[in-house]
Subunit: 339 residues, 2 copies
Amino acid sequence: MATLGDVAARAGVSISAVSRVLSDAPSARVSEATRERIVQAAKDLHYRPNFAGRALKSARTQVVGLVVPDLTNALFTELMHGAEDESAARGYTLLLGRADDVRPEGEMIARLIGEGRVDGMVIQVGDGVAPAGMGDLLASGAPIVLINSTYPGHVGSVALDDRTGARIATQHLIDLGHERIAFANGLPRSFTAKRRRVGYKEALVEAGLPVRQDYETRVGYTADNGRTALRRLMERDPRPTGIVVANVNAAIGLLAAARADGIRVPEDLSVATVHDSWTAENTWPPLTAVKMQFYDMGRAAVRSVVRRIETGEMADEMITDPAPELIVRESTAPPSQAV
Amino acid sequence: MATLGDVAARAGVSISAVSRVLSDAPSARVSEATRERIVQAAKDLHYRPNFAGRALKSARTQVVGLVVPDLTNALFTELMHGAEDESAARGYTLLLGRADDVRPEGEMIARLIGEGRVDGMVIQVGDGVAPAGMGDLLASGAPIVLINSTYPGHVGSVALDDRTGARIATQHLIDLGHERIAFANGLPRSFTAKRRRVGYKEALVEAGLPVRQDYETRVGYTADNGRTALRRLMERDPRPTGIVVANVNAAIGLLAAARADGIRVPEDLSVATVHDSWTAENTWPPLTAVKMQFYDMGRAAVRSVVRRIETGEMADEMITDPAPELIVRESTAPPSQAV
DNA sequence: GTGATCTGCTCTAACGTTTGAGCAGTGGCC
DNA sequence: GGCCACTGCTCAAACGTTAGAGCAGATCAC
């Protein structure tokens, strides 16, 4: 690849002159003729600034890292999409890392930052488990934004309004006339599960409905977890007529289990889920869902970390605009009279 | 962050000594005592080699890029997973790029390579459309491995055995006794669609069944495309009793459309798809699928590009081991007698 | 005792970039 | 004519790393 030196030689000027012209430095005092010669020479040689040289000199890589626990999850791909778009818009490149089960992800993140591969990181820790070494990492003062979670003493996070999301889903079932509404939640330690739980309860209490302990499962967010949840909840007496599922993947599994067990949705059981994705449209029946703004959260997270990198400002942020949005499909209906 | 200089000062030796010890250079002739002092000093200071410095000096970044057309696709996430694992195993970092509709991805790839951000690239072009500038890029001699596609004159690709995959799915329906088997394929220009088509036809011909032109649609690989395909195929006279779908996402859409139109699966219609993913298990009925080894392809692609980077060797490769594997679920059954 | 060899280091240049400082040449002002 | 300011450049140092060359001192063969 052509270097500044090559371009300088071709244009018959010094390296500094080329550097200043090509990087549009305001301190560049160059005649129009020289400028044109330089630009032309750069074009002729297909010059591109060397990343390593620039990074070394400026101590900036223009790269932000994104670590998510599971790439296979449709929600995280949406998040990634948002993060990608925002990065591109701000002239950053996105480096994707998977939080690996084998090696503690804290080590990987520390490496990326310590080696100067990234200027900052956006991190989604899985289900509320803070990876080992996360404390040190955050304490080191590196630009890190946490997604959907917080860490004691750390400022810098972006979260969705899970409480409102769960509340909207629950309210939808209440509006349909359901009174026995269960909640298939995530693991107790999960930050999002905690917040969704609050929303679920709020809606019930406001409507004057009882909050039954045995109407909540706290199994997890996978399709298999959803199957388990359905089977547990269907053992309750009386059976719930509606279930709010805290996660779309779990909802898909729950729906499949209902099918397999001969429970008709929505005739026997209404199912509403928090989260929407293209997969929710294609289940049978199509899932009523509250769309959480993962794309926007991705954008916000990158915006936040870039602001931190460039100005030092840091904040905790909740995405309330756009708000969680109810998308009614066919998995919810008024409860049937027969019980 | 601590530099080699800091470590050298603390250990009371020269920078070169530190560099050689910490990078385990074979040419390092150092006494055991000095080595220990250096290692200790590095540990004390939490030394990590600066990425930019190293990259600048060695002209290697130890990063490979992966570009896929659509991150939201479950298949590509599997591919990414494989690519990630292989990269990690070989000491590389994976840089993820999305092929953007807005800017031609050729430009992005050229940038990554031209700026020296990556040592090589693994590229999956969407549906067989070669992005503008791809020719120049490949001609430039940069280490590039294409996934599931080829380019005239370019050596360096990894592909799945789509022909066998489609053949197995078709054969499965034949074995069940189906004779009117349709094929919901991808766009005509797609490389994978071409190969799958061959497998489908082969199976029919071998079984002595007619190949009907109007039993193939070539709409695309999305869920919506699957809906369209179903509706077209169900207009045929006589109706097919089984459909092989070339892509799992399309199959999910096709299944949903069948449900909506009152076509019972598998009683009225058997559906088998090429590709498997967790989403296929959770449809209703669960989809019979031929598992294509996307994970292994991801690994193979990275292995291939790394070999190219480190030794210069390049090859075209087809993943045949593990072979495509039929996973029978509940969307296929013998044709009913009534038509 | 002398030259050769080996050990255990250090010196130095280089990778490509950015950027503060410097330096000729020109024009204006008094 | 002397001074200043300005224009249009160039010089050189620095970022952190690697690696070839070099250099004292010790050891060894003869």
